[in-house]
């Protein structure tokens, strides 16, 4: 008989316990980065190990899991993480956002509004928005402790002066619960408003940088902006999905080859399950 050399959820109980303690403190301190040990896993750091450790510490056999990468259920990162989690926990899998109880995601928040019984786990590549203005971790930690975000505001101001706009495409900095400056991970600006006063719990895991942070439900999440230069999401009037026709979702462009051999750009929904559901009803 084949002998298993790992426990339920792959990581050992001591490691899970440490992740769980960090998660409780992260929820109690919205937006604050809580350090954790970040164990080695059979995937490389930087490929979702922070989110994976949170998911493995969370999952119960009765959970239903969805894993997405850039909104896509079938991209390489999502498929491999899903396979690893399924083999080590046996949880049910789904691509339908509404069916999932736990959703692990890289760089997107699903288009459908998440419910109170759902938990979104985000993979975080770069944990601290202050790194743009203060690369020294110790000094940045003190700045967070003192809510000293003046240099960040100067960075935003200089961005407006140089580019005429808040020149930040992803990882848009936000203030959580009127206290902590937080990196939103490389989600597009389109997704940032979904964090504000949401019904669901958001958990963020940075495996390489060994930090966990969280945004509880019904919490204020305010993007940095100026009175005369407000925060704006990406939007191109008239552009819509080539598959489902949706003009109110985050769209991505990719090149396709036509029958004549010519290449052209097509715009489709980034959230593939959302797009598939719309196509099914239309």
């Amino acid at each position: 008989m084949h002998e298993l050399h790992y426990t339920y959820g792959l990581i050992d109980e001591d490691s899970k316990r440490e992740v769980r303690r960090a998660l409780l403190k992260a929820v109690a301190l919205p937006g604050h980065q809580v350090p954790f040990a970040s164990r080695d896993l059979p995937i490389a750091r930087g490929w979702g190990t922070g989110g994976l450790q949170i998911t493995l510490a969370l999952l119960a056999p009765e959970d239903i899991l969805k894993v997405i990468d850039q909104g896509d259920d079938e991209s390489v990162n999502a498929v491999n993480l899903r396979r690893l989690i399924a083999q080590t926990t046996g949880v049910a899998l789904t691509a339908v956002t509404a069916d999932a109880t736990v959703i692990q995601t890289r760089h997107r928040i699903p288009e459908e509004r998440l419910r109170a019984d759902q938990i979104l786990v985000l993979q975080v590549p770069m944990v601290d928005p202050l790194r743009w203005v203060e690369p020294n971790l110790e000094r940045a930690t003190v700045m967070h402790g003192e809510a000293d975000y003046g240099r960040m505001w100067v960075y935003m101001y200089e961005s407006v002066i140089r580019a005429g706009d808040l020149r930040i495409a992803t990882q848009y900095p936000v203030i959580v619960a009127d206290r902590y400056l937080m990196d939103t991970t490389p989600i597009p600006r389109w997704d940032v408003p979904k964090l504000h006063q949401a019904d669901a719990l958001f958990l963020f895991g940075a495996g390489r940088e060994k930090r966990i942070y969280a945004v509880p439900p019904h919490t204020s999440v305010a993007p940095l902006e100026f009175e005369d230069v407000p925060f704006r999401v990406e939007y191109t009037p008239g552009q819509c999905c080539a598959r489902c026709g949706c003009g109110d979702s985050f769209l991505t462009s990719h090149a396709v080859s036509g029958a004549d051999g010519a290449t052209r750009w097509v715009t489709t929904c980034s959230d593939t399950s959302f797009c598939a559901a719309r196509q099914a009803v239309s």
Binding site: R17, E18, V27, L29, P30, A60, Q87, P216, H218
Partner: protein, 202 residues
């Protein structure tokens, strides 16, 4: 083939998920499960201890207005099985306070620092009844992250002794103590340090 959790691991995971839900939504009641162990004291306490404690953690227990000593049978049982260290209150990461007489002891627990607020303790506070229907119940109105507008938490009258120490513990946010209220039936409610509490009559 998928590995199975042991009954103790299953109880620890269920306890953690309950605590996570209660911290994410302060004032919402959860129900703790007791692990399959013959343990002194209420089973839910054993569940919290096994879910959160290990050799890296310091624990302190209080009863009848005093901290239990290292040779107390409950402390010995707990430290032996969870491998946690019995420490004095200012060093404790987790504390169990068993009755309203222990309320002033909350002031002795660590609140962390501005740079490392997560070093603030988690205090598990035993109260008589959560969701108390009695006419003389103490009603706390809660506001803050995790609560849509506000919500009410009705406790037995004796639990009112905890209000002032809990409010003091979060006067210097982000420093503070995170509190889990648990009643005799294993119902629990989370009061993370972000939750603002005011008392009102029914």
């Amino acid at each position: 083939m998928v590995p199975m959790s042991t009954p103790l691991e299953t109880a620890c995971r269920a306890t953690f998920r309950t605590l996570l839900a209660c911290f994410a939504r302060p004032g919402t009641l959860g129900r703790l499960v007791a692990p399959p162990l013959a343990a002194p004291g209420p089973g839910w306490w054993t569940g919290i201890a096994f879910a959160l404690l290990d050799q890296t953690q310091g624990v302190a227990l209080a009863h009848a207005g005093r901290w239990r000593s290292a040779d107390d049978p409950l402390v010995r049982w707990l430290t032996l099985r969870c491998h946690a260290r019995h420490v004095s209150a200012p060093q404790a990461q987790l504390a169990l306070l068993a009755d309203p007489a222990c309320a002033p002891l909350l002031d002795e627990l660590p609140q962390g620092s501005l740079t490392y607020p997560e070093a603030g303790a988690t205090a598990v506070v035993l109260v008589g009844t959560l969701a108390c229907p009695a006419a003389d119940a103490t009603v706390w109105q809660l506001r803050g992250p995790g609560i849509a507008a506000h919500c009410d938490l009705a406790l037995d009258a004796a639990a009112g002794a905890w209000l002032a120490p809990i409010q003091r513990s979060r006067a210097h946010y982000p420093r503070g103590i995170d509190v889990v209220l648990v009643d005799q039936d294993g119902r629990c409610a989370g009061l993370p340090r972000t939750t603002r509490i005011t008392e009102r009559g029914l």
